[in-house]
């Protein structure tokens, strides 16, 4: 955007500084699609050199932002989370989200504003963004094909936290798949083994460790899925214990 005061890896991909790995990935794929060589839609606006330049910046940006270590190094160096005043004059939409976060909470995931119970949140969560137009769908590993389409209606019917009588594993899986996070990605980001993740999602409680560990796992997963970890974990454990005692 032309109103951005500084050029960064984030502006190159046109994502906010608190974008999740998935947002970064889909922004990257969208950008690659836009600047592809045979896109007539750019003709006369961007010459070959400008297109290559844009592509190079996108690749560079993605190299850094998709790698957790490089990303945190880059963030620290460019002071991503401490830059409040820079865009006072022109607070573009891209920056608004990051500046809304106050200085105290550096980790966007800990903001905890996503309440699990709200059906609005679930609905928006399960609807891919409309800007997804023409974005090649990133590969989703280990996805049972039959599940994705019904995800929306089923999850919408989730009863209130107090009255549910089934586990949260399926919901976790649906949210994860809707967000197009593969088991591998989830395992990589949470450092939880794929076997445990599968057991959690399939509510195969016999293969899981003690509840106190499971609680930790669920908190980790909720972080990645941007769900309210505390609520999700207690609901999960409640069902786990109920099943174990019956």
């Amino acid at each position: 955007m032309i109103f951005d005061q500084e050029v960064s890896h984030y502006t190159a991909l046109d994502v906010p500084t608190d974008a999740s790995p998935q947002e970064i990935k889909s922004a990257y794929l969208r950008a690659k699609h836009l600047y592809r060589k045979d896109n007539h839609g750019l003709y006369g606006m961007l010459d070959a050199e400008a297109t290559e330049d844009a592509l190079r910046k996108i690749e560079e940006a993605f190299q850094v932002l998709s790698n957790p270590e490089l990303k945190s190094e880059y963030d620290a160096k460019s002071g991503v989370h401490s830059r409040e005043a820079a865009d006072l004059l022109v607070a573009s939409a891209t920056h608004r989200r990051s500046s809304q976060m106050d200085g105290k909470s550096k980790d966007p995931f800990q903001a905890g504003q996503d309440s699990l119970g709200s059906s609005d949140d679930l609905e928006s969560l399960l609807n891919p963004p409309s800007t997804d137009f023409a974005t090649p769908v990133p590969a989703v590993l280990n996805t049972p094909k039959s599940m994705a389409p019904e995800a929306k209606t089923e999850v919408k019917n989730v009863p209130n936290a107090s009255s549910f009588d089934f586990g949260r594993g399926m919901m976790i899986r649906k949210v994860r798949e809707t967000k197009r996070i593969s088991l591998e990605d989830m395992s990589f980001q949470t450092k939880i083994s794929k076997n445990y993740l599968t057991s959690i999602e399939e509510e195969d409680y016999s293969k899981l460790p003690a509840p106190v560990f499971v609680r930790g796992f669920i908190m980790q997963i909720a972080k990645i899925l941007k769900l309210d970890g505390a609520t999700l974990a207690s609901q999960y454990i409640e069902h786990l214990k109920k099943t174990a005692s019956s």
Partner: protein, 339 residues
Amino acid sequence: MSDSSNHRNQFLDGQFPSPFEPGTGLISAGTGRLKQIWAIGGGKGGVGKSLISSSLAVALAKAGKKVIAIDLDLGGANLHTTLGVELPRQTLGDFFSGRVSELSQCSCLTGIQNLELISGAQDSTRIANISDTEKHRFLIAVRNLDCDYVIFDLGAGTANYTLDFFLASEINLITMLPEPTSIENAYRFIKSAYYKRLQAIGELSPIHDLIEVTMDAKNIQGIRSPSDLFRIVNRDFPHLASRLKEEIEKFKPKLIINQVRTHSDIEIGHSVKTVCKKYFGIDIDYLGYLDYDSSVWQAIRRKRPAFLEFPNSKLTQSVERITDNLLRRYASERSSLHP
């Protein structure tokens, strides 16, 4: 008409916004009617400006609006042909040369209810360079026409008067074909209109020179893009930066892709939208597309409006949908500016 002379005086007194300052339309006409001008441009010739102009005009007329279509392709007027009308006796040439004093005298019936036509000039050599005074007089006369909607069918290219008429309108429509030549010219047209619009804003006069430099693609200062321009304004004229941003964001051209054959043709509109957002900071409303339709040239050979000749064609449906969208999304702009 005493009303119209009254308006002219208001204008001279400075109470009346200059017709060249963009976005000041919707002036109550002498008849007391608010009107909205839709301008159809696009840079290149043969991209369907006249066809789309006449189709939109007919669609509006069919919806019960009183419409006057004006052919502003001063060098190559043929809107009358797409409407199935013989070349009218009075044309814009007569208005500009002063042979007729009222613009409404150039207006002729089209045989379509609610729709009148003002044809372009035929003696194009003199007309091609109309003066600012004549442009002024014309735009004020347009505001005094007795109708709800005025359609400007603009000529190809980025001539000064073409851009002026485009920017004096409330609805800025751009039509392009999914072909490199057309896309290139459409970008050129958007770019020219974009800068010219900013240069017409009185408040931004301290940076008009800077904009002029930016428009010269090979300027030695190295200002290559709106992004560069904005950075420099932010640095050197910080008090104007937010005003500049505001004006840039007010420019909202609407895009129609014509003669679409494949899915990737449709996608071009989305690319244009994204790129314009990224490089110009403007929001383009991608209104829709028209399928390539061989019935169009059949209609043109019969010298009949394609829109009426084939009422059940996809073209007619698409045009109706686009008109509908425009009416729904922007009708409120008619009255909001001048209560």
